[in-house]
Symmetry: none
Subunit: 269 residues, 2 copies
Protein backbone atom coordinates (compact mmCIF):
# COMPACT_ATOMS: atom_id res chain seq x y z
CA UNK A 1 0.00 0.00 0.00
CA UNK A 2 1.33 3.35 -1.08
CA UNK A 3 0.28 6.61 0.56
CA UNK A 4 -1.21 8.91 -2.03
CA UNK A 5 -1.01 12.72 -2.22
CA UNK A 6 -4.32 12.98 -0.32
CA UNK A 7 -2.81 11.00 2.55
CA UNK A 8 -5.10 8.07 1.84
CA UNK A 9 -3.67 4.61 1.27
CA UNK A 10 -3.71 3.61 -2.38
CA UNK A 11 -2.91 0.09 -3.49
CA UNK A 12 -0.26 -0.80 -6.01
CA UNK A 13 0.50 -4.12 -7.65
CA UNK A 14 4.21 -4.81 -8.08
CA UNK A 15 5.13 -7.81 -10.21
CA UNK A 16 8.69 -9.12 -10.02
CA UNK A 17 9.88 -11.62 -12.62
CA UNK A 18 13.19 -13.34 -13.09
CA UNK A 19 13.70 -13.51 -16.83
CA UNK A 20 15.28 -16.39 -18.79
CA UNK A 21 19.04 -16.37 -19.26
CA UNK A 22 20.26 -14.78 -22.47
CA UNK A 23 22.45 -17.28 -24.21
CA UNK A 24 25.01 -14.72 -25.33
CA UNK A 25 25.53 -13.50 -21.76
CA UNK A 26 26.10 -16.83 -20.09
CA UNK A 27 29.86 -16.70 -20.64
CA UNK A 28 29.99 -13.31 -18.90
CA UNK A 29 28.10 -14.83 -16.02
CA UNK A 30 30.76 -17.49 -15.60
CA UNK A 31 33.80 -15.30 -16.23
CA UNK A 32 33.16 -11.84 -14.88
CA UNK A 33 33.52 -10.75 -11.27
CA UNK A 34 31.20 -13.45 -10.10
CA UNK A 35 31.14 -14.59 -6.48
CA UNK A 36 30.88 -18.36 -6.02
CA UNK A 37 30.03 -20.15 -2.74
CA UNK A 38 30.26 -23.95 -2.44
CA UNK A 39 27.10 -25.38 -0.92
CA UNK A 40 27.49 -29.16 -1.10
CA UNK A 41 29.61 -31.82 -2.77
CA UNK A 42 28.89 -35.54 -3.39
CA UNK A 43 30.92 -37.65 -5.83
CA UNK A 44 31.12 -35.79 -9.16
CA UNK A 45 28.22 -33.46 -8.25
CA UNK A 46 28.52 -30.13 -6.47
CA UNK A 47 26.25 -27.15 -5.99
CA UNK A 48 27.11 -23.49 -5.52
CA UNK A 49 25.53 -20.14 -4.89
CA UNK A 50 26.59 -17.84 -7.71
CA UNK A 51 26.25 -14.07 -7.30
CA UNK A 52 26.40 -12.40 -10.71
CA UNK A 53 27.64 -8.87 -11.37
CA UNK A 54 24.94 -6.21 -11.08
CA UNK A 55 24.31 -5.79 -14.81
CA UNK A 56 23.48 -9.49 -15.17
CA UNK A 57 21.04 -9.69 -12.29
CA UNK A 58 18.12 -7.76 -13.76
CA UNK A 59 14.64 -8.43 -12.42
CA UNK A 60 11.72 -7.43 -14.66
CA UNK A 61 9.43 -5.23 -12.62
CA UNK A 62 5.91 -4.20 -13.54
CA UNK A 63 3.93 -1.71 -11.49
CA UNK A 64 0.18 -1.12 -11.61
CA UNK A 65 -0.60 2.07 -9.70
CA UNK A 66 -3.16 3.00 -8.62
CA UNK A 67 -4.53 -0.55 -8.59
CA UNK A 68 -8.24 -1.35 -8.37
CA UNK A 69 -9.76 -4.20 -6.34
CA UNK A 70 -9.91 -6.23 -9.59
CA UNK A 71 -6.20 -5.86 -10.18
CA UNK A 72 -5.53 -7.04 -6.65
CA UNK A 73 -7.78 -10.11 -6.99
CA UNK A 74 -6.18 -11.07 -10.28
CA UNK A 75 -2.73 -11.27 -8.75
CA UNK A 76 -3.51 -12.67 -5.32
CA UNK A 77 -2.28 -16.19 -4.90
CA UNK A 78 -4.90 -18.84 -4.36
CA UNK A 79 -4.13 -21.96 -2.45
CA UNK A 80 -4.51 -25.14 -4.48
CA UNK A 81 -5.27 -28.55 -2.99
CA UNK A 82 -5.33 -32.06 -4.38
CA UNK A 83 -8.55 -34.03 -4.14
CA UNK A 84 -8.56 -37.80 -4.47
CA UNK A 85 -12.09 -38.42 -5.75
CA UNK A 86 -13.52 -41.91 -5.35
CA UNK A 87 -16.46 -43.03 -7.48
CA UNK A 88 -18.68 -42.42 -4.44
CA UNK A 89 -17.33 -38.88 -4.19
CA UNK A 90 -18.10 -38.40 -7.85
CA UNK A 91 -21.70 -39.57 -7.46
CA UNK A 92 -22.34 -37.74 -4.19
CA UNK A 93 -20.37 -34.51 -4.61
CA UNK A 94 -19.03 -33.83 -8.09
CA UNK A 95 -21.95 -34.98 -10.26
CA UNK A 96 -24.62 -33.05 -8.28
CA UNK A 97 -22.31 -30.03 -8.44
CA UNK A 98 -21.95 -30.30 -12.24
CA UNK A 99 -25.71 -30.72 -12.64
CA UNK A 100 -26.45 -27.73 -10.42
CA UNK A 101 -24.20 -25.49 -12.48
CA UNK A 102 -25.35 -24.04 -15.73
CA UNK A 103 -21.99 -24.01 -17.42
CA UNK A 104 -22.85 -22.73 -20.88
CA UNK A 105 -21.30 -24.80 -23.63
CA UNK A 106 -23.14 -23.03 -26.43
CA UNK A 107 -19.77 -22.17 -27.98
CA UNK A 108 -19.07 -25.91 -28.34
CA UNK A 109 -22.43 -26.50 -30.02
CA UNK A 110 -21.78 -23.53 -32.31
CA UNK A 111 -18.60 -25.20 -33.55
CA UNK A 112 -20.24 -28.63 -33.93
CA UNK A 113 -23.13 -27.05 -35.88
CA UNK A 114 -20.80 -24.85 -38.00
CA UNK A 115 -22.37 -21.69 -36.62
CA UNK A 116 -18.93 -20.48 -35.54
CA UNK A 117 -15.31 -21.15 -36.45
CA UNK A 118 -16.38 -23.35 -39.39
CA UNK A 119 -13.36 -22.11 -41.36
CA UNK A 120 -11.04 -23.19 -38.55
CA UNK A 121 -11.98 -26.88 -38.64
CA UNK A 122 -8.90 -29.01 -39.37
CA UNK A 123 -10.69 -32.34 -39.58
CA UNK A 124 -14.16 -33.74 -39.06
CA UNK A 125 -15.61 -37.20 -38.68
CA UNK A 126 -19.35 -36.43 -39.03
CA UNK A 127 -20.64 -39.61 -37.37
CA UNK A 128 -23.09 -38.46 -34.66
CA UNK A 129 -22.00 -41.27 -32.35
CA UNK A 130 -18.32 -41.92 -33.09
CA UNK A 131 -17.42 -38.65 -34.80
CA UNK A 132 -15.74 -35.43 -33.75
CA UNK A 133 -14.45 -32.05 -34.92
CA UNK A 134 -10.77 -31.05 -34.60
CA UNK A 135 -10.06 -27.32 -34.20
CA UNK A 136 -7.08 -25.20 -33.07
CA UNK A 137 -7.41 -24.24 -29.42
CA UNK A 138 -7.98 -20.56 -28.60
CA UNK A 139 -4.61 -20.48 -26.83
CA UNK A 140 -2.73 -21.27 -30.05
CA UNK A 141 -2.19 -18.46 -32.55
CA UNK A 142 -1.01 -20.94 -35.24
CA UNK A 143 2.08 -18.83 -35.94
CA UNK A 144 4.57 -21.45 -34.78
CA UNK A 145 4.46 -25.17 -34.14
CA UNK A 146 6.30 -24.95 -30.80
CA UNK A 147 3.09 -24.40 -28.88
CA UNK A 148 0.75 -26.31 -31.20
CA UNK A 149 -2.57 -26.88 -29.44
CA UNK A 150 -5.70 -28.43 -30.93
CA UNK A 151 -8.92 -29.72 -29.43
CA UNK A 152 -11.14 -32.59 -30.58
CA UNK A 153 -14.80 -31.97 -29.67
CA UNK A 154 -17.03 -35.04 -29.88
CA UNK A 155 -20.37 -34.87 -31.70
CA UNK A 156 -22.31 -36.81 -29.07
CA UNK A 157 -23.57 -34.61 -26.27
CA UNK A 158 -24.09 -37.09 -23.47
CA UNK A 159 -20.49 -37.61 -22.37
CA UNK A 160 -19.51 -35.08 -19.75
CA UNK A 161 -16.04 -36.30 -18.84
CA UNK A 162 -13.68 -39.22 -18.29
CA UNK A 163 -16.06 -40.44 -15.56
CA UNK A 164 -18.75 -41.24 -18.16
CA UNK A 165 -16.54 -43.30 -20.45
CA UNK A 166 -17.04 -47.06 -20.85
CA UNK A 167 -15.91 -49.63 -23.43
CA UNK A 168 -18.84 -48.51 -25.59
CA UNK A 169 -16.87 -45.33 -26.33
CA UNK A 170 -13.80 -47.17 -27.58
CA UNK A 171 -14.64 -46.68 -31.30
CA UNK A 172 -15.05 -42.93 -30.72
CA UNK A 173 -11.81 -42.66 -28.74
CA UNK A 174 -9.86 -44.71 -31.28
CA UNK A 175 -11.19 -42.51 -34.10
CA UNK A 176 -10.01 -39.41 -32.27
CA UNK A 177 -6.57 -40.88 -31.61
CA UNK A 178 -6.04 -42.20 -35.14
CA UNK A 179 -7.69 -39.51 -37.27
CA UNK A 180 -6.44 -36.70 -35.05
CA UNK A 181 -2.84 -37.83 -35.47
CA UNK A 182 -3.24 -38.20 -39.22
CA UNK A 183 -4.93 -34.82 -39.69
CA UNK A 184 -2.21 -33.02 -37.69
CA UNK A 185 0.61 -34.78 -39.55
CA UNK A 186 -1.04 -33.87 -42.88
CA UNK A 187 -1.86 -30.24 -42.10
CA UNK A 188 1.03 -29.24 -39.85
CA UNK A 189 3.70 -31.83 -40.58
CA UNK A 190 4.00 -32.76 -36.91
CA UNK A 191 4.44 -36.55 -36.50
CA UNK A 192 2.28 -38.47 -34.04
CA UNK A 193 5.32 -39.23 -31.87
CA UNK A 194 5.62 -35.51 -31.13
CA UNK A 195 2.07 -35.09 -29.90
CA UNK A 196 0.82 -35.29 -26.33
CA UNK A 197 -2.82 -36.45 -26.62
CA UNK A 198 -4.85 -36.34 -23.41
CA UNK A 199 -8.04 -35.57 -21.52
CA UNK A 200 -8.38 -33.33 -18.50
CA UNK A 201 -10.02 -34.37 -15.28
CA UNK A 202 -11.59 -32.13 -14.07
CA UNK A 203 -12.16 -30.59 -17.50
CA UNK A 204 -12.92 -26.89 -17.82
CA UNK A 205 -16.24 -27.70 -19.54
CA UNK A 206 -18.35 -30.82 -19.35
CA UNK A 207 -18.58 -31.83 -23.00
CA UNK A 208 -16.05 -34.54 -23.82
CA UNK A 209 -12.97 -33.18 -25.58
CA UNK A 210 -9.40 -34.27 -26.17
CA UNK A 211 -6.27 -32.09 -26.13
CA UNK A 212 -3.49 -32.37 -28.73
CA UNK A 213 -0.36 -30.41 -27.79
CA UNK A 214 3.21 -30.32 -29.07
CA UNK A 215 5.29 -32.68 -26.95
CA UNK A 216 8.04 -30.08 -26.58
CA UNK A 217 5.53 -27.54 -25.26
CA UNK A 218 5.03 -27.43 -21.52
CA UNK A 219 1.30 -26.85 -22.01
CA UNK A 220 -0.73 -25.67 -19.01
CA UNK A 221 -2.78 -28.60 -17.71
CA UNK A 222 -0.43 -31.28 -19.01
CA UNK A 223 0.81 -32.28 -15.59
CA UNK A 224 0.07 -35.62 -14.00
CA UNK A 225 -2.56 -34.29 -11.57
CA UNK A 226 -4.83 -33.21 -14.43
CA UNK A 227 -3.94 -34.96 -17.70
CA UNK A 228 -4.83 -38.52 -18.73
CA UNK A 229 -3.20 -39.85 -21.90
CA UNK A 230 -5.82 -40.95 -24.43
CA UNK A 231 -3.78 -44.11 -25.15
CA UNK A 232 -3.93 -45.00 -21.42
CA UNK A 233 -7.66 -44.27 -21.27
CA UNK A 234 -8.26 -46.59 -24.24
CA UNK A 235 -6.15 -49.37 -22.68
CA UNK A 236 -7.87 -49.00 -19.31
CA UNK A 237 -11.34 -49.23 -20.91
CA UNK A 238 -10.28 -52.21 -23.01
CA UNK A 239 -9.09 -53.89 -19.78
CA UNK A 240 -12.21 -53.00 -17.81
CA UNK A 241 -15.25 -51.27 -19.27
CA UNK A 242 -16.09 -49.81 -15.83
CA UNK A 243 -12.54 -48.64 -15.04
CA UNK A 244 -13.55 -44.97 -14.70
CA UNK A 245 -16.61 -45.86 -12.61
CA UNK A 246 -14.38 -47.69 -10.14
CA UNK A 247 -11.07 -45.90 -9.85
CA UNK A 248 -10.21 -42.95 -7.65
CA UNK A 249 -9.03 -39.93 -9.65
CA UNK A 250 -6.81 -37.12 -8.42
CA UNK A 251 -7.21 -33.47 -9.37
CA UNK A 252 -6.35 -30.03 -8.00
CA UNK A 253 -8.87 -27.40 -6.90
CA UNK A 254 -8.37 -23.80 -5.81
CA UNK A 255 -9.52 -23.11 -2.27
CA UNK A 256 -12.03 -20.52 -3.55
CA UNK A 257 -13.73 -22.88 -6.01
CA UNK A 258 -17.27 -23.97 -5.24
CA UNK A 259 -16.46 -27.64 -5.87
CA UNK A 260 -13.70 -27.41 -3.27
CA UNK A 261 -16.22 -26.10 -0.75
CA UNK A 262 -18.52 -29.04 -1.59
CA UNK A 263 -15.70 -31.49 -0.81
CA UNK A 264 -15.00 -29.59 2.41
CA UNK A 265 -18.66 -29.72 3.47
CA UNK A 266 -18.64 -33.45 2.82
CA UNK A 267 -15.61 -33.81 5.10
CA UNK A 268 -13.49 -35.12 2.22
CA UNK A 269 -10.66 -32.56 2.55
CA UNK B 1 35.52 -27.87 -21.21
CA UNK B 2 37.95 -27.64 -18.30
CA UNK B 3 41.63 -28.42 -18.63
CA UNK B 4 42.58 -31.14 -16.16
CA UNK B 5 45.89 -31.58 -14.34
CA UNK B 6 47.15 -33.84 -17.13
CA UNK B 7 46.57 -31.07 -19.64
CA UNK B 8 43.77 -32.99 -21.31
CA UNK B 9 40.37 -31.41 -21.80
CA UNK B 10 37.78 -32.73 -19.43
CA UNK B 11 34.14 -31.83 -19.81
CA UNK B 12 32.00 -30.31 -17.11
CA UNK B 13 28.29 -29.67 -17.06
CA UNK B 14 27.34 -26.37 -15.44
CA UNK B 15 23.65 -25.83 -14.73
CA UNK B 16 22.50 -22.32 -13.88
CA UNK B 17 19.05 -21.83 -12.39
CA UNK B 18 17.24 -18.74 -11.24
CA UNK B 19 15.38 -19.76 -8.08
CA UNK B 20 11.96 -18.52 -6.94
CA UNK B 21 11.75 -15.35 -4.83
CA UNK B 22 11.79 -15.83 -1.08
CA UNK B 23 8.73 -14.12 0.29
CA UNK B 24 10.43 -12.74 3.38
CA UNK B 25 13.11 -11.11 1.27
CA UNK B 26 10.83 -9.32 -1.18
CA UNK B 27 10.62 -6.24 1.03
CA UNK B 28 14.42 -6.04 1.07
CA UNK B 29 14.38 -6.30 -2.67
CA UNK B 30 12.13 -3.25 -2.88
CA UNK B 31 13.76 -1.21 -0.14
CA UNK B 32 17.48 -1.92 -0.01
CA UNK B 33 20.07 -0.34 -2.25
CA UNK B 34 18.22 -1.47 -5.30
CA UNK B 35 18.82 0.20 -8.62
CA UNK B 36 15.65 0.92 -10.59
CA UNK B 37 15.50 1.91 -14.25
CA UNK B 38 12.21 3.01 -15.80
CA UNK B 39 11.62 1.19 -19.06
CA UNK B 40 8.15 2.25 -20.14
CA UNK B 41 5.05 3.92 -18.78
CA UNK B 42 1.47 3.79 -20.09
CA UNK B 43 -1.51 4.93 -18.04
CA UNK B 44 -1.44 3.12 -14.69
CA UNK B 45 1.10 0.56 -15.95
CA UNK B 46 4.88 0.95 -15.88
CA UNK B 47 7.81 -1.41 -16.23
CA UNK B 48 11.29 -1.21 -14.76
CA UNK B 49 14.60 -2.99 -14.72
CA UNK B 50 15.41 -3.70 -11.10
CA UNK B 51 18.97 -4.57 -10.09
CA UNK B 52 18.94 -6.18 -6.63
CA UNK B 53 21.77 -6.03 -4.11
CA UNK B 54 24.31 -8.84 -4.50
CA UNK B 55 23.01 -11.01 -1.65
CA UNK B 56 19.55 -11.16 -3.26
CA UNK B 57 20.70 -12.13 -6.73
CA UNK B 58 21.76 -15.71 -6.10
CA UNK B 59 21.84 -18.11 -9.03
CA UNK B 60 21.75 -21.79 -8.14
CA UNK B 61 24.70 -23.47 -9.80
CA UNK B 62 25.21 -27.19 -10.16
CA UNK B 63 28.44 -28.61 -11.49
CA UNK B 64 28.99 -32.13 -12.76
CA UNK B 65 32.72 -32.66 -13.09
CA UNK B 66 34.19 -34.65 -14.61
CA UNK B 67 31.18 -35.17 -16.87
CA UNK B 68 30.82 -38.26 -19.03
CA UNK B 69 29.43 -38.27 -22.55
CA UNK B 70 26.14 -39.37 -21.02
CA UNK B 71 25.96 -36.36 -18.74
CA UNK B 72 26.63 -34.08 -21.70
CA UNK B 73 23.95 -35.74 -23.80
CA UNK B 74 21.45 -35.48 -20.97
CA UNK B 75 21.68 -31.69 -20.96
CA UNK B 76 21.94 -30.94 -24.68
CA UNK B 77 18.73 -29.84 -26.40
CA UNK B 78 17.27 -32.52 -28.67
CA UNK B 79 14.20 -33.61 -30.59
CA UNK B 80 11.92 -35.64 -28.40
CA UNK B 81 9.61 -38.49 -29.41
CA UNK B 82 7.00 -40.47 -27.54
CA UNK B 83 7.42 -44.21 -27.22
CA UNK B 84 4.54 -46.47 -26.26
CA UNK B 85 6.35 -49.36 -24.63
CA UNK B 86 4.47 -52.66 -24.32
CA UNK B 87 5.61 -55.27 -21.80
CA UNK B 88 7.20 -57.15 -24.71
CA UNK B 89 9.10 -54.01 -25.66
CA UNK B 90 10.28 -53.71 -22.09
CA UNK B 91 11.56 -57.28 -21.99
CA UNK B 92 13.11 -57.23 -25.46
CA UNK B 93 14.43 -53.67 -25.75
CA UNK B 94 14.42 -51.65 -22.53
CA UNK B 95 15.53 -54.24 -19.98
CA UNK B 96 18.52 -55.49 -22.02
CA UNK B 97 19.45 -51.84 -22.57
CA UNK B 98 19.32 -51.05 -18.83
CA UNK B 99 21.37 -54.15 -18.04
CA UNK B 100 23.99 -53.29 -20.64
CA UNK B 101 24.49 -49.82 -19.19
CA UNK B 102 26.67 -49.20 -16.19
CA UNK B 103 25.12 -45.93 -15.04
CA UNK B 104 26.71 -45.46 -11.62
CA UNK B 105 24.28 -45.04 -8.75
CA UNK B 106 27.05 -44.88 -6.16
CA UNK B 107 25.66 -41.53 -5.00
CA UNK B 108 22.38 -43.27 -4.06
CA UNK B 109 24.22 -45.92 -2.06
CA UNK B 110 26.29 -43.17 -0.40
CA UNK B 111 23.09 -41.61 0.90
CA UNK B 112 21.53 -44.93 1.98
CA UNK B 113 24.76 -45.85 3.81
CA UNK B 114 25.14 -42.36 5.36
CA UNK B 115 28.43 -41.84 3.57
CA UNK B 116 27.12 -38.60 2.09
CA UNK B 117 24.37 -36.11 2.84
CA UNK B 118 23.61 -37.82 6.17
CA UNK B 119 22.83 -34.43 7.71
CA UNK B 120 20.29 -33.77 4.96
CA UNK B 121 18.05 -36.75 5.75
CA UNK B 122 14.54 -35.56 6.58
CA UNK B 123 13.12 -38.95 7.46
CA UNK B 124 14.17 -42.57 7.44
CA UNK B 125 12.36 -45.86 7.76
CA UNK B 126 15.33 -48.23 8.24
CA UNK B 127 13.53 -51.45 7.25
CA UNK B 128 15.74 -53.07 4.58
CA UNK B 129 12.68 -54.30 2.70
CA UNK B 130 9.93 -51.73 3.26
CA UNK B 131 12.03 -48.76 4.31
CA UNK B 132 13.40 -45.68 2.63
CA UNK B 133 15.29 -42.43 3.10
CA UNK B 134 13.72 -39.03 2.38
CA UNK B 135 16.14 -36.27 1.31
CA UNK B 136 15.80 -32.88 -0.37
CA UNK B 137 16.42 -33.16 -4.10
CA UNK B 138 19.56 -31.49 -5.52
CA UNK B 139 17.30 -29.16 -7.46
CA UNK B 140 15.87 -27.65 -4.28
CA UNK B 141 17.91 -25.15 -2.27
CA UNK B 142 15.48 -25.32 0.71
CA UNK B 143 15.24 -21.54 0.91
CA UNK B 144 11.57 -21.37 -0.04
CA UNK B 145 8.68 -23.82 -0.11
CA UNK B 146 7.44 -22.79 -3.58
CA UNK B 147 9.72 -25.24 -5.34
CA UNK B 148 9.88 -27.82 -2.57
CA UNK B 149 11.35 -31.02 -3.98
CA UNK B 150 12.24 -34.13 -2.04
CA UNK B 151 13.13 -37.66 -3.06
CA UNK B 152 12.41 -40.93 -1.29
CA UNK B 153 15.11 -43.51 -2.04
CA UNK B 154 14.16 -47.07 -1.15
CA UNK B 155 16.55 -49.23 0.86
CA UNK B 156 16.06 -52.36 -1.24
CA UNK B 157 18.31 -52.43 -4.26
CA UNK B 158 16.47 -54.83 -6.54
CA UNK B 159 13.69 -52.58 -7.79
CA UNK B 160 14.80 -50.72 -10.89
CA UNK B 161 11.60 -48.93 -11.83
CA UNK B 162 7.80 -48.96 -12.06
CA UNK B 163 8.11 -52.01 -14.33
CA UNK B 164 9.42 -54.14 -11.43
CA UNK B 165 6.60 -53.28 -9.03
CA UNK B 166 4.04 -55.88 -7.96
CA UNK B 167 1.58 -56.14 -5.07
CA UNK B 168 4.46 -57.39 -2.93
CA UNK B 169 5.77 -53.80 -2.90
CA UNK B 170 2.52 -52.32 -1.60
CA UNK B 171 3.76 -52.07 2.03
CA UNK B 172 6.88 -50.20 0.84
CA UNK B 173 4.87 -47.86 -1.38
CA UNK B 174 2.29 -47.18 1.32
CA UNK B 175 5.07 -46.41 3.81
CA UNK B 176 6.57 -43.91 1.40
CA UNK B 177 3.21 -42.25 0.75
CA UNK B 178 2.18 -42.07 4.40
CA UNK B 179 5.47 -41.36 6.16
CA UNK B 180 6.67 -39.05 3.41
CA UNK B 181 3.55 -36.88 3.77
CA UNK B 182 3.85 -36.82 7.56
CA UNK B 183 7.56 -35.99 7.56
CA UNK B 184 7.08 -33.12 5.11
CA UNK B 185 4.11 -31.71 7.04
CA UNK B 186 6.13 -31.90 10.26
CA UNK B 187 9.38 -30.45 8.96
CA UNK B 188 8.16 -27.95 6.37
CA UNK B 189 4.52 -27.38 7.34
CA UNK B 190 3.31 -28.30 3.85
CA UNK B 191 0.07 -30.32 4.04
CA UNK B 192 -0.30 -33.56 2.06
CA UNK B 193 -2.97 -31.97 -0.16
CA UNK B 194 -0.31 -29.62 -1.51
CA UNK B 195 2.14 -32.31 -2.52
CA UNK B 196 2.47 -33.98 -5.91
CA UNK B 197 3.86 -37.46 -5.17
CA UNK B 198 4.95 -39.50 -8.17
CA UNK B 199 7.37 -41.83 -9.92
CA UNK B 200 9.06 -41.24 -13.24
CA UNK B 201 9.01 -43.71 -16.09
CA UNK B 202 11.61 -43.80 -17.53
CA UNK B 203 13.46 -42.70 -14.39
CA UNK B 204 16.84 -40.98 -14.68
CA UNK B 205 18.45 -43.74 -12.59
CA UNK B 206 17.34 -47.31 -12.06
CA UNK B 207 17.03 -47.46 -8.30
CA UNK B 208 13.41 -47.01 -7.23
CA UNK B 209 12.68 -43.52 -5.97
CA UNK B 210 9.63 -41.32 -5.48
CA UNK B 211 9.38 -37.56 -6.12
CA UNK B 212 7.63 -35.17 -3.72
CA UNK B 213 7.11 -31.70 -5.19
CA UNK B 214 5.05 -28.67 -4.21
CA UNK B 215 1.74 -28.80 -6.06
CA UNK B 216 2.05 -25.15 -7.06
CA UNK B 217 5.48 -25.79 -8.59
CA UNK B 218 5.55 -26.72 -12.24
CA UNK B 219 8.36 -29.20 -11.58
CA UNK B 220 10.30 -30.55 -14.55
CA UNK B 221 9.19 -34.14 -15.23
CA UNK B 222 5.74 -33.72 -13.68
CA UNK B 223 3.91 -33.94 -16.98
CA UNK B 224 1.64 -36.80 -17.93
CA UNK B 225 4.12 -38.45 -20.33
CA UNK B 226 6.59 -39.09 -17.52
CA UNK B 227 4.96 -38.90 -14.10
CA UNK B 228 2.84 -41.58 -12.41
CA UNK B 229 1.06 -40.58 -9.20
CA UNK B 230 2.05 -42.87 -6.36
CA UNK B 231 -1.61 -43.09 -5.28
CA UNK B 232 -2.52 -44.37 -8.77
CA UNK B 233 0.36 -46.83 -8.77
CA UNK B 234 -0.80 -48.21 -5.40
CA UNK B 235 -4.41 -48.53 -6.63
CA UNK B 236 -3.33 -50.21 -9.87
CA UNK B 237 -1.20 -52.76 -7.98
CA UNK B 238 -4.00 -53.42 -5.49
CA UNK B 239 -6.31 -54.05 -8.47
CA UNK B 240 -3.85 -56.28 -10.31
CA UNK B 241 -0.47 -57.32 -8.93
CA UNK B 242 0.88 -57.67 -12.48
CA UNK B 243 -0.49 -54.34 -13.75
CA UNK B 244 2.96 -52.97 -14.61
CA UNK B 245 4.00 -56.23 -16.26
CA UNK B 246 0.98 -56.02 -18.57
CA UNK B 247 0.27 -52.42 -19.41
CA UNK B 248 1.83 -50.33 -22.15
CA UNK B 249 3.59 -47.26 -20.78
CA UNK B 250 4.27 -44.03 -22.63
CA UNK B 251 7.43 -42.00 -22.24
CA UNK B 252 9.45 -39.48 -24.20
CA UNK B 253 12.95 -40.12 -25.52
CA UNK B 254 15.37 -37.76 -27.17
CA UNK B 255 16.34 -38.75 -30.68
CA UNK B 256 20.01 -39.04 -29.70
CA UNK B 257 19.43 -41.38 -26.78
CA UNK B 258 20.70 -44.90 -27.14
CA UNK B 259 17.39 -46.35 -25.96
CA UNK B 260 15.63 -44.46 -28.76
CA UNK B 261 18.01 -46.04 -31.26
CA UNK B 262 17.22 -49.47 -29.80
CA UNK B 263 13.50 -48.86 -30.36
CA UNK B 264 14.28 -47.67 -33.89
CA UNK B 265 16.34 -50.78 -34.65
CA UNK B 266 13.47 -52.93 -33.39
CA UNK B 267 11.12 -51.14 -35.80
CA UNK B 268 9.05 -49.76 -32.90
CA UNK B 269 9.28 -46.06 -33.88
Amino acid sequence: QVTGPSGEGTDAVVILEKTPFQEEKVLDLLKKHTKLELQMRNDIYSTYHLYPPLELSEIKTTVVYPATEKHLQKYLRQEVHLIRETWEDYKNITLPFIQSQSFSIQWVYNILEKKAEADRIIHENPDPCNGFVLVPDFKWNQNQLDDLYLIALVHCREVKSLRDLTAEHLPLLRNILQEGKEAIAKRFGVPASQLRIYLHYQPSYYHLHVHFTALGYDAPGSSVERAHLLADVIDNLALDSMYYQKRALTFALRADELLFKKFQEAGRV
